[in-house]
């Protein structure tokens, strides 16, 4: 059996009241009060202005957390295989398409259509970074983060290569919002390195499927955030990583089970 182990060399994090990983540590640890504020998305880098204008929030979010993680890891984006995972992709774009198609004159803009694919963020990432490496693009509803982590760590363990994981979700506007009440944008990215590279920095994690339910967070605002955005299901792991000490947490997987993630 292949041990599913990897070292997290870089972390990107953007969410309500969270701007990046270094400044979020103390908030996650409760050393500073955590006040959720509307998520602020930085302008994406590496793409011409025309392309940037055409991107939805969810794509900006994915590119921003991916860039943060790469930077912290000092990794080369152009050579990194990627795993993108999201419950719903670009909600605003989906809303506009369904609205147009419900009208008598069904006019769809070509850009809206190509931005509607679930792999839009992955496609823009590949263009922005010049990366021709394989990109996988997953969805598992509220288990999307855990599914992406499982896929990414399996890739790292089997192919002995670094992999970038990007998990991201953003809200739908009404009326879809009532059916899928995602509160805001939240994205997390890890540069994951294989064990045998003797990676010099970052936390080592081991993952495996578990029958136990996902861990909840004791801080009510963080727990609320965890439940209100699928990608924020990563928060128990992020809190454990912020502690910089060994420990085991469960992140939400399918059927009320969890992906056990041990920080070694």
């Amino acid at each position: 059996m292949t041990p599913l182990v990897a070292t997290i060399e870089g972390i990107g994090l953007i969410g309500p009241g969270l701007q990046d990983w270094p400044s979020s540590r103390e908030l996650l640890l409760g050393l500073k009060p955590f006040t959720p504020r509307p998520t602020v998305l930085p302008l994406p880098e590496g793409l011409p202005a025309a392309e940037r204008r055409r991107m939805g929030r969810v794509v900006k979010l994915a590119l921003a957390v991916g860039t943060q993680a790469i930077r912290e890891a000092g990794a080369e984006a152009a050579s990194l295989p990627t795993v993108f995972t999201s419950s719903g992709g670009d909600g605003q774009n989906c809303h506009e398409i369904c609205r147009s198609l419900a009208q008598e004159e069904r006019q769809l803009s070509p850009t809206r259509f190509h931005n509607s694919v679930h792999n839009a963020a992955s496609g823009y990432w590949s263009i922005a970074t010049g990366s021709t490496a394989p990109a996988n693009v997953l969805c598992a509803f509220d288990a999307s983060f855990a599914s992406g982590l499982l896929e990414a760590v399996a890739q790292v363990s089997l192919a002995a290569m670094r992999v970038l994981l990007v998990a991201y979700d953003a809200e739908y506007p009404p009326p879809l919002h009532e059916k899928r009440p995602i509160s805001d944008a939240f994205g997390v990215a890890f540069v994951l390195a294989p064990d045998e590279t003797g990676a010099h920095r970052g936390a080592r994690i081991r993952i495996g499927l578990s029958e136990a339910p996902a861990d909840r967070l004791s801080e009510p605002q963080l727990e609320q955030l965890r439940l209100s955005i699928p990608a924020a299901r990563s928060l128990p792991l992020l809190v454990q990583l912020a502690r910089r000490e060994p420990g085991r947490v469960g992140v939400e997987y399918l059927d009320g089970r969890s992906l056990a993630t041990e920080v070694l």
Binding site: S87, C98, R106, R112, S126, S147
Partner: protein, 407 residues
């Protein structure tokens, strides 16, 4: 390097099936391929008024879901259920689950639009008083991309890992890679992989807006090719480790190769660099040379740019002599289900000594410079390569072969 070496072990397609506009199940699909029939016809889908052809599966609406799964009711999941009912596929999965355990059988499916048709229809019925969607509209179990894997997993009573791969038109080729990794990492012993995509307004009007749909049944690699014909399909494969003894004509997954274009959201790299990298990676994973491949099932959508880029890539890897065809003239482009549908067609080709000739194409574009088959060739085939490429510059090639490759 042991991990890399392990990454190239073959897997067995221990059972497979498909439903498309060519027919229900393996026998009808093979009969249609042998008869060089196309399932494409002028679009009559829903309220669509576009001048284009589609490959609609007959009878999808007459396949209600069982009461216990009625929340999942949408065209895409009905089509998935039709697929599971062909060729005793569900029974084969049940045997596999009994052998390995329900938690040791994964589900990895590709789709591009899942049940979005349900949302398109719901938007026609927004309550004018408060702007809300109909009460019975179920986003999670119809529209969401994961819906189809969730449904299939419940319909088959499986409890193993599951995910949807949604990378546009490479989705259900890439699931073979995801499932393979889970088996190699010993997270599971078997996987239901496949693709399900169904007709909806988003793709029909979207490809029309991009001026990528043909008015006629699509003509891949033809001098006159002018676009795609959108279709729908459900294709499933049960993947397991290769047992010690296996029939000579069993079909194995020998290699998966993936790459990205880093070029454009809706146009392939003009020289097919990404496509080329995917094919080379698939051959390397299979430990094969280009000369070992007897037939290429081309992505061959029938757009000017795809077929031109793909032919550049094929020439660069294989030269001009390896016979190839696109079966999309027969099946149409099933988008997120195309990769799995064409893997099933390749498996049928391997087991029935058939290289399917391209349908609808009459005059292959000489500038493309590859050996494009216009007629069926009945001869033993040992190994095939199948291409799937998609929006966002995502590429995946599969290499399949007979267990006993023979002389």
């Amino acid at each position: 390097m042991t991990a890399l070496a392990a990454a190239t072990e073959p897997l067995l397609l221990s059972h497979y099936t498909a439903v498309s506009c060519l027919g229900y199940g393996k026998r009808e699909t093979l009969t249609s391929l042998r008869a060089r029939r196309t399932g494409l016809a002028p679009c009559r889908f829903e309220t669509v008024t576009l001048d284009t052809c589609t490959g609609e599966v007959k009878g999808v609406d007459e396949q209600p879901l069982p009461p216990s799964l009625h929340h999942f009711d949408c065209r895409n999941n009905r089509l998935a259920q039709m697929g599971l009912r062909q060729d005793e596929f569900a029974d084969a999965v049940a045997r596999s689950a009994a052998r390995w355990g329900r938690k040791r059988v994964g589900v990895f499916l590709g789709t591009s639009t899942s049940g979005i048709l349900q949302t398109e229809l719901a938007f026609r019925h927004i309550d004018p008083s408060d702007g809300s969607l109909p009460k019975d509209f179920d986003y999670a179990r119809t529209h969401n991309s994961f819906s189809v894997a969730d449904f299939v997993r419940r319909a088959l009573a499986l409890e193993g890992p599951a995910a949807v791969v949604s990378s546009a038109c490479s989705s259900s080729a890439k699931v073979f890679g995801s499932a393979r990794r889970m088996i190699e990492a010993d997270v599971i012993d078997a996987a239901v992989v496949g693709g399900v995509d169904s007709l909806c307004l988003t793709t029909l009007y979207g490809f029309h807006a991009l001026q990528l749909t043909s008015r006629l049944p699509c003509r891949p690699f033809d001098l006159q090719r002018d676009g795609i014909s959108i279709s729908e399909a459900a294709a499933f494969v049960l993947l397991e480790r290769v047992p010690e003894s296996v029939d000579a004509d069993a079909v194995l997954l020998l290699g998966v190769g993936e790459s990205s274009d880093a070029y454009h959201m809706s146009s392939p790299h003009p020289e097919g660099l990404g496509a080329r990298a995917a094919m080379v990676a698939a051959l390397r994973a299979a430990r094969l040379q280009a000369a070992d491949i007897d037939y290429i099932n081309l992505h061959g959508t029938g757009t000017v740019s795809n077929d031109s880029a793909e032919s550049c890539a094929v020439r660069a890897v294989f030269g001009a002599r390896t016979p190839g065809s696109s079966t999309k003239g027969a099946t149409g482009h099933a988008l997120g289900a195309a990769g799995a549908l064409e893997a099933v067609i390749c498996a049928l080709a391997l087991q029935n000594d058939l290289m399917p000739g391209g349908v609808n194409t009459t005059t292959p574009d000489p500038s493309l410079g590859i050996e494009y088959l216009l007629a069926n060739r009945d001869r033993p085939i040992r190994r095939v390569l199948s291409n799937s490429f998609g929006f966002g510059g995502t590429n995946c090639s599969l290499v399949l072969g007979r267990a006993q490759a023979g002389p």
